[in-house]
Amino acid sequence: MTAKKKKIVLAGAVSSASSAGAEFDHACAEAMKALRELGFDVALISANPTAASTDIDAPGPVYFEAVSPENLAAALEREKATALLPVFGGGAAVNAATAPAALKAMKKLGVSLMGVSETSRAASVDRRKFLKLMKIAGVEVPPGAVVSSIEEAEAAALEIGFPAALRPLMSEGGAGNSTAYNMEDLEGQAASALKSSAAGTILVEKLLRGWKEIEIVLLRDANGNAATVAMIENIDPAGIHSGDSASVIPAQTLTLGATRRLKKSAEAVARALDAVGVVNVRFALEPASGDIKLIYAVPRYTRSSAFAARATGYPVARVAAKLVCGLTLDEITEPEFGSGNAFREPEPDYCATRLPRFDFEKFPGADDTLDTAMKSTGGAMGTGRTFKESLLKAMRALETSRPKPPDASTEAGKETLRGLLSRPNPARLFHIFDALAAGMRVEEIRSLTLIDGWFVSQFAEIAEISARAGKYRIETAPASLLKQAKLAGLGDEDIARLLETEETELRRLRKKQGTTAGAGAMDASGAARARYAAFESTDAAPKGDRGKKIIILGGGPNRIGQGIEFDYCCVHAAYAIKEAGYTAILINSNPETVSTDFDTSDRLYFEPLTFEDVMNIIDREKPHGVIVQLGGQTPLNLATKLLRAGAPILGTSPDNIDRAEDRKRFKETLDKLNLTQPDNDTAGTVEEAVRKARQIGYPLLVRPSYVLGGRAMRVVYEEADLREYMAKAVSASPDKPVLLDRFLDDAIEVDVDAVADGERCLVCGVMEHIEQAGVHSGDSACCLPPYTLNEAIVEEIKGATRAMARELGVVGLMNVQFAVKNDVIYVLEVNPRASRTVPFVSKATGTPWAKVATRVMLGESLEKQGVAEESVPEHMSVKEAVFPFSRFPGVDATLGPEMLSTGEVMGIDRDFGMAFLKSQIAAGQKLPDKGAVFVSVKNSDKRAIVPIARKLIDMGFEIVATEGTASTLRRNGIEARSVHKLDQGRPNVLDVVKNKEVVMLINTPAGKDTKVDEAKIRSAAIARDIPLVTTISGAQATVQGMEAFRERGFTVAPLQEYHKKNLAASNARKSAAHKAPAKKIAAKKTMAKKSKK
């Protein structure tokens, strides 16, 4: 090895509007581990509090800051680092690290850039250089041109012909990517693509319609040795972003010749780019001619790298990190390789299919056509012996309900179906089954979807088995057919439906017939702890487990409302179980997680989180306990069914979970405790809802029961709204009633996380929301500790929390949401499970609460653990949500009770204003320092806006307002220029926004009538990256942050420094019992560097 002792700063994921980031969490976690192993000091910069890599007990300092060139420079200086490593934090991290400002600072500090070769950096911005390199590599690229204006883009498109793929150079997660089918498309798309490019240039390229896409994930060392970790074959044809494509490992349909050529070409590309580490090379292959063309080459960790790593068991990130340090492939050993080294090409004897998870239903009005810009929020991996089995398991693992098929008995219905097949959309694979059921031939489906006929045939084979099973009833179904159906991957639930029986009945029968699941090891890379269940005789049950076996159910695919924050909890549970001397077994289907890392658990099952698949593992492993409360709503929803099937559920009993989730029973509990709830009721029909709404009074918060992330949650202001909502909601979940709550206007919402052991309850953290009540807690910014609530109220909230924990017999974690209005505390909701704020609270308070909760579930009381009540931190931590609006042009960007955010960032500092500002910057808001601010607020906010506007004026901003708001301001002596509303003539608000005459918008949504106008304004602002604040409290916080920044600039400090005393305490805890809260320590800040923003 050639590297000297270094201090390496890793640039983590930039929180962007895409939900990319989960894969970078595990990449950074593994890279840090690997670098530490080599003896380097490491530090990480990432503002993502949900990540496991940004934990307080990370192998090095963690900076909760935006990954910007300025902050990178500040962290490098503060850490006295010798190198910066950005290739595990995604494209944006690489862009930040290679931005001129960063490079300049690095030169000054004598810091080297790791993992990015000079050649690949030059090639990423200079197309001519890139083409020259590819020519040397002997690799062809599709016809195309790099342009830097709309006119040039038009000329290029004319030259190469439509459809044309537009790709901004140096962008993240396919942001700004699009496909133009005509000149009109092109104009708009070229403009937005130009905007997304950090380099200000876009690539206009011929779209290779109907070609296959193959991605090769390879590792290359400094000596030029390369090994292919996986060949990923896309089921979808070329033209869809790799993150949004259904894909499979290993490639299924290639000839030996094509396989050899693709591998050789990929190696040649990596060599030409002089890439060291992990390289993802994507080719298009024309089936008829066998021609291959390079689509792209990315020399850094990506979502595909994560899929390759998880599918093959090859620790891609860890090995890549060591390669970057100069080790060669044969010098690297990892436990996954058994006795050998990293130089190997996994040849799986199983199949892993990854399907993307989409949440389009959260964004009404968004076009769900898939193209070259990524729109998925995550993905699920299904593993089986054959493609069919892995496909069906991946479909189950997505945890989405199957879309309703169009009525194919009519010609119009068939036409609709054809449209759904020819237009790439999230449900397309499901519709292939619909088409087959409607009698459509494989060949027709192939020509509509452009999906390889072999894949379509696999669907047809599944459909054929289903059709055969459908001819029987449970009493008559032959055992051989059931076995065949199970071998093909059909779920018990599917088969039961075909046989018109219950899932449990079917399960009982097939078990009696001896059709039970075995398990195979995912050992393509050597030794592996990951396994998958399969219905054929496979490996013997593992031996030599330590102590009791505990199963943890993970959170499944990342989606809005359930992301890696729950994975963080599962990871900590696994650590705690192992520390307690037990065997930790994890079940998860999400390849983009730390929980699926090799050494997180003792054994990992890549399985869907459904009743059947989980029970298959429970039957096989016979665990001492099963933990359901850490993976979010998915495992919690299984609790009762698992318990009934005899699974030993640890922690809060499923009956008590039901007591908290069932409205009626919860009301009884609160009455007993003398706690207040907003007036509420439930209704099963429209008329019942209308009647009850009149009793409660408007506005009303309405939602279906048993939901996470506020699915289908709305605030309704009048009866007509309610009727409309009920018509939709009741069809959404027919067997569950709709909940009606009095909506508390202008209340302050408070989130509390607590842990209890059945006797004692400790409050982990109290978070005050910055947005007013009515904004989903996952979407609203919050501050820990509370920044406006008085101590008495906070104490009362804590008291109420403890009382509820005791009453509900909570063992483990609990989350309570309160609203405070006129000093009255209302209980909005109790969730007896880990909440999405657990990682944030753990990082803000410096205590690993998920671990504490796990030990409680294992039977160790809080007292025995010596954990203290939350000592209120002296610093302020602000959590802010990150939204994917820019991915969905034209969608209304208003926050409400339905959760829409796809990620989180955290700002931490000594005072609220600065912590808030940091969180805003990390969330991608570029707060202005001069210019005009547009203000338009609803009547109830008019009084509150006055001091805010005054502060803005004091800071030198100009105010532009709609007439109503402007006159209020003028009456209070604030100068404001008024601008027309949309219906008042031109130029109007929209013109002002579109012309970028304003630098920030404060726009609080008024009633229903102005809704459409406001939606247009907000969309226009988002499309132009103009900061937008939609609540009055948000506006207050923003202004406070801007003031703080003006006063004292910007400093960075690692999380561990804020928690010196907690860390000391946790170390001391091992020897001594409880330690009194340490004395105040001044947060040491050695440098004050101004951020340019």
Partner: protein, 353 residues
């Protein structure tokens, strides 16, 4: 139709038969690779073997006569988890199952191949019977013993070459001439010679050294093959008398024969290197490469060193010798293909090829 794979040790697996019927006997080997099933089944070095494909689904890309490595099916049988019914876009003109039928290649599908491969790895490669006949285990084993004896009594059964698949060809001027001791070369071996503009004359294993030298070749090449390693003492003797008089290079089994001629004692591996992902390292330069291999020969570096040989490539997983050279005697061997030939040039610092 049901079919069974019955190992010499009495372990039996039942599945669905396809392609043909009756019974076949051969050494069962586990093949790791995601493509190249037809190539493996037709390559002479798999002659007499029963191929157990570790990749669950076999034949997704169909079959194409152009992919054959020889003019016949060489494997005795194939065993897979799933036989693909359909063919991918851009695949061959017929389904793999149809190909098997047309060539009377007996196969099993729906077999627990992961378990079978594990059995081969733990017990070592052994003879097995692939059969569609209904009979007792005892009589199956007796039949297996009989077939095994018959085959062993007729080693010339292994003399199949892929050379016939190549159209007649004359090298462009200036190319080297090689004599090929063809003990079972696949067509791609000769395609490679063609690509290097090497003119060849191919002979069977019984060719004498004097006859070979009379051609005045630039080199003698010993191909891969399917013979049991110890069944060609005559060929080893021939190679021995060629040593030092003309450069000699062997590939696969051919490399084992060259090693024997040098005085080393290659042995049979418990389970060999069969697949497309075998990692090797050049011990001199540190260069690593993933290779395709098909052999069961274990050669120890120490043994080779004592005979004056130099190990240049080792397997990075089990440490066995994968490439060697004996500079004084102008001999070299590599256990991987199809780039073995290039490797030989590299090993010898350029045989006059």
């Amino acid at each position: 139709m049901k079919g069974r794979l019955i190992f010499e040790d009495g372990t039996a697996f039942e599945a669905e038969a396809f392609g043909s019927h009756g019974d076949r006997a051969g050494v069962a080997v586990a093949f790791a690779g995601g493509a190249g099933f037809q190539e493996a089944a037709t390559t002479p070095s798999y002659l007499g073997r029963i191929l157990v494909f570790e990749r669950p689904t076999v034949g997704a890309c169909g079959a194409d006569e152009a992919w054959n490595e020889s003019d016949r099916v060489c494997a005795e049988g194939v065993v897979c988890r799933e036989l693909s019914k359909s063919v991918s876009d851009g695949g061959g003109p017929m389904a793999f199952g149809r190909f098997c039928e047309s060539r009377q290649l007996l196969g099993l599908e729906g077999a627990p191949t992961r378990e079978i491969a594990a059995h081969i790895r733990s017990r070592g490669e052994q003879w097995a019977l692939l059969t569609t006949e209904e009979s007792s285990l005892k009589s199956h084993l007796a039949r297996l013993a009989l077939l095994k004896t018959q085959t062993s009594a007729n080693p010339d059964k292994y003399r199949v070459s892929g050379e016939a698949l190549l159209a007649s060809w004359r090298p462009a001027g200036g190319g080297a001439t090689a004599v090929v001791l063809d003990i079972g070369a696949g067509a791609s071996f000769y395609r490679l010679l063609k690509r290097h503009n090497i003119f060849w004359r191919a002979f069977g294993p019984r060719m004498s050294a004097e006859e070979i030298l009379s051609i005045r070749p630039d080199a003698a090449l010993v191909s891969n093959g399917a013979y049991p390693a110890d069944s060609l003492p005559g060929t080893v003797a021939t190679i021995k008398s060629l040593l030092g008089r003309v450069p000699v290079a062997g590939i696969g089994l051919g490399a084992a024969l060259v090693a024997s001629a040098l005085g080393a004692s290659p042995s049979e591996m418990k389970s060999g290197h069969h697949g497309v992902n075998i990692p090797v390292a050049n011990v001199a330069t540190g260069a690593l490469r993933i290779t395709e291999q098909n052999h069961s020969v274990a050669l120890r570096a120490e043994d080779l060193r004592r005979r004056g040989g130099e190990t240049l490539y080792v397997n990075t997983i089990d440490g066995s010798v994968e490439g060697f050279v004996h500079r004084r005697k102008m001999a070299a061997g590599a256990f991987f293909e199809p780039d073995g030939l290039e490797t030989i040039q590299e090993l010898t610092g350029g045989l006059p090829l």
